[in-house]
């Protein structure tokens, strides 16, 4: 096994020597190009396009959560709160929900004449990011003194509270007969985005939606990559690995942790606002605890702290949930002569996959390089300890 790995490494080094120095960049541009032309390979309103759009939106969320859980090591079980806030930002500022107001900023078509607040979609995205970042800081504040699973509990509680407020928001009156949310009825008839040149955004024409979320994903991905190698990103990792050591090296613990919460939340908000307009309704029933777990599963299955892992995990689980089980495999039991539909055991299959992936590959599909090194170094250390007691490298036992 080790020989094989060494061989692969050698080949890789050889390839790196042969190819010119600009090839990673060329590869990136090629991939982006493929991403842009991808929708032309599929029917414009097919189930696959629909699944792709949702999966890419989930990638944005899992990239956001990866900052909080993967980089900064703060286990967040209430990420659904930011999905909810992002979606409600769209509901509030992009529909006739606040019917007493009549505000229009940069909108076209029917929306420009209707009652309610109608902002341009770009403005809504910015608003969603800002609102979610503030909420992220608010949620982060009580967890600053806590560690590990206790953070998970507080974030879980916040997520649930936001869910309850979303359902019961019909009882919170803002004056003039307007309420905070529309509860389980949902805020319907939200504005579709408008961008000139890429076509109408409607449910029979999915390509513009795809390009929009693909662009959002690229921006988030780029920010993620830059953040990871920045001073802030390294501070997050340092805090994750050893808080005491990091603080004594002069890393401001409070500001660093809160910025992780804010950043992760903002990305969740972007995706939430997009999904709100894509699903054409903002309904309290969408914001369940299970969603937080769904996104967390993407991050962990992809490989905690790994950006490409988060992308892979998001795409994988998104496609499984919205394409593989409902579209491709649904008729499988009847083909085998069994009298049921696969969707009825959908969550069971899903749970089975989670267990399977974790048992077979607990470090995730694409583990972060730094973590992989840690793991192998730990193995080397124990090996050395077993062999000759003096030669062992001292490593701390477990990650906090």
């Amino acid at each position: 096994m080790n020989e094989l790995r060494a061989q692969l490494k050698e080949w890789r080094a050889a390839i790196d020597r042969v190819l010119p120095s600009w090839w990673p960049r060329a590869l990136a541009f090629a991939l982006i190009g493929i991403g842009i032309v991808l929708p032309f390979a599929f029917s414009n309103n097919s189930g696959f396009m629909n699944a792709t759009i949702i999966a890419v939106a989930y990638v944005v969320m899992s990239l956001g959560l990866n900052i909080v859980v993967g980089f900064a090591g703060l286990l967040d079980l209430g990420y659904v709160a930011f999905y909810a806030l992002g979606a409600y930002t769209l509901g509030w500022f992009g529909s006739d929900f606040f019917f007493k107001a009549k505000v229009h900023v940069g909108v076209h078509g029917i929306a420009a004449h209707e009652i309610g607040i109608h902002l341009n979609f770009i403005l809504i995205l910015i608003a969603a990011a800002v609102i979610c970042a503030l909420a992220g800081i608010l949620i982060g504040l009580p967890t600053l003194r806590l560690r590990g699973d206790y953070i998970a509990i507080v974030t879980l509680a916040f997520g649930e509270i936001i869910g309850v407020v979303a359902v019961n928001g019909t009882d919170i009156h803002l004056g003039g007969g307007m309420t905070l949310t529309a509860g389980n009825f949902g805020i319907s008839a939200v504005d579709a985005p408008y961008f000139p040149g890429i076509g109408q955004f409607n449910l029979l024409n999915l390509r513009p939606w795809y390009w929009l979320i693909f662009a959002i994903m690229l921006v988030v991905l780029f920010v993620n990559l830059r953040l990871r190698d920045s001073r802030l990103g390294r501070a997050w990792v340092a805090l994750r690995e050893d808080e005491v050591a990091a603080v004594s090296m002069g890393i401001p613990s409070v500001r660093t942790k809160l910025s992780a919460y804010a950043m992760g939340a903002a990305f969740g908000g972007l995706s939430g606002a997009f999904l709100g307009t894509y699903f054409t309704t903002v309904n309290a029933g969408q914001f369940q605890f299970g969603f937080s777990i769904f996104i967390l599963a993407m991050v962990i299955i992809g490989g905690l702290g790994s950006i490409w892992g988060a992308v892979a995990g998001g795409l994988l689980l998104g496609y499984i949930n919205y394409y593989l089980i409902p579209d491709v495999l649904n008729s499988l039991p009847s083909k085998l002569g069994l009298n049921f539909q696969l969707v009825t055991i959908e969550i069971g299959i899903y749970g089975f996959l989670l267990v399977l992936v974790m048992v077979l590959r607990p470090q995730g599909l694409i583990p972060e390089r730094r973590r992989r090194l840690e793991l192998t170094q730990q193995i080397a250390a124990t090996d050395a300890e077993l062999g000759e007691p003096t030669g062992g490298i001292q490593t701390t036992g477990e990650a906090p």
Partner: protein
């Protein structure tokens, strides 16, 4: 700086108790001064100024809380020993309810069964559903958590979620997707006796009466037996326990067996007391019971029971007095956050590495 430190210490010691006492005291004062509407006579509201209503809330809360307490023990034992939030535990409880209800017809139990037959039948159901849930929980541990002992800490969390989904799906296929009312075997709403003006119903007696012996039995087991000592030792330091000759894997399996068994008992009580089951009940119950375990101090059995009872009472106050109970969940989780801020180690917990 000194007043701030002082205030923080003071809040750490008393803040939680003040927060927990706030609702009961508020309603106590309200009932005694303003009074409450006890009924209608000839279209006129009868206003009472006594403690009956608040007493009723507390008793209802305690009996509901008994169920949460039994589930919370499962969370607290597992967390104490392998530091895992066992998300599948609530769904094991749900399977317990379903097993119990399935066994009603196997043992031929109907609301018209005689008292002796009913008691023995229900005891048999209790034992079987405890065994089923205990084995199920142990099986989950063997398949899902044991292979991941050395893996990153979040990996078993995801398998726990996976098993939770699988069990939910089993429940969904087993009894359908909507809440189902089950035979009210013990006629739980019947009043047995009164404590002053407070009617004590059969359901209350059942819930509290099953919970107390189980909890005392468990604490005796953990305190006084060899296996219990092994459990405590493993919780404290698995590595040292192993060096002292304790079979750590077996001890962990035993912990899951006990936790699952208590969840099975809670499942039966729930079915008898609420007379309503559905596949999603375990999820909500799991979150509530987990909150209870944290409130009491995770890893601490007495704490889990106390937390369960307190949450039951909070829920009962909120259900009966706050806008029809739709905010109950938010109130419970609000309390959870308060606890985490004021006293992270919980009511009875000791200072731990994570909560320090």
């Amino acid at each position: 700086m000194r007043p701030i430190a002082w205030a923080r210490r003071w809040l750490g010691r008393w803040g939680l108790i003040i927060a927990l006492a706030a609702l009961p005291v508020l309603y106590l004062i309200h009932d005694l001064t303003t009074g409450y509407q006890a009924g209608l006579v000839n279209g006129h509201a009868v206003i009472h100024h006594d403690l009956t209503r608040i007493g009723l809330n507390v008793v209802q809360g305690l009996s509901n809380g008994s169920i949460w307490a039994l589930i919370a023990i499962g969370y607290t034992l597992v967390y104490g020993i392998i530091e895992l939030i066992n998300f599948a535990h609530g769904d094991v409880f749900m399977i317990g309810s379903f097993t119990a209800v399935g066994l009603y017809s196997v043992f031929g139990l109907t609301p018209s069964t005689g008292a002796v037959g009913l008691i023995f039948g229900l005891l048999a159901v209790l034992v079987v559903s405890m065994i089923v849930c205990g084995s199920l929980n142990t099986l989950i541990e063997r398949v899902g958590y044991k292979p991941l002992r050395g893996a990153p800490k979040l990996a078993p969390l995801i398998t726990a979620v996976g098993f939770s989904f699988i069990l939910q799906n089993v429940g969904l296929v087993w009894r359908g997707g909507s809440p189902e009312s089950v035979p009210d075997l013990i006629n739980q709403g019947q009043t047995v006796f009164h404590i002053s003006a407070l009617p004590i119903q059969r359901g209350y007696i059942l819930a509290i009466g099953v919970m107390i012996p189980l909890v005392f039995g468990l604490s005796w087991f953990v305190r006084s037996t060899r296996l219990g000592r092994a459990m405590r030792a493993t919780a404290q330091d698995p590595e040292a326990a192993r060096l002292m000759g304790i079979n750590v894997n077996q001890t962990i399996s035993l912990t899951f067996l006990i936790g699952g068994g208590l969840a099975g008992a809670a499942g039966l009580i729930y079915a008898l007391y609420q007379t309503n089951i559905w596949y999603f009940q375990g999820f909500k119950a799991g979150l509530i019971a987990f909150t209870a375990a944290v409130m009491g101090g995770i890893g601490n059995i007495a704490g889990a029971v106390l937390g369960g009872l307190i949450i039951g009472v909070i829920q009962s106050f909120s259900d009966n007095r706050l806008a029809g109970g739709e905010w109950t969940e938010a109130v419970v989780f609000g309390y959870l956050i308060l606890i985490m801020v004021l006293r992270p180690r919980g009511l009875l917990g000791e200072e731990t590495r994570e909560a320090g």
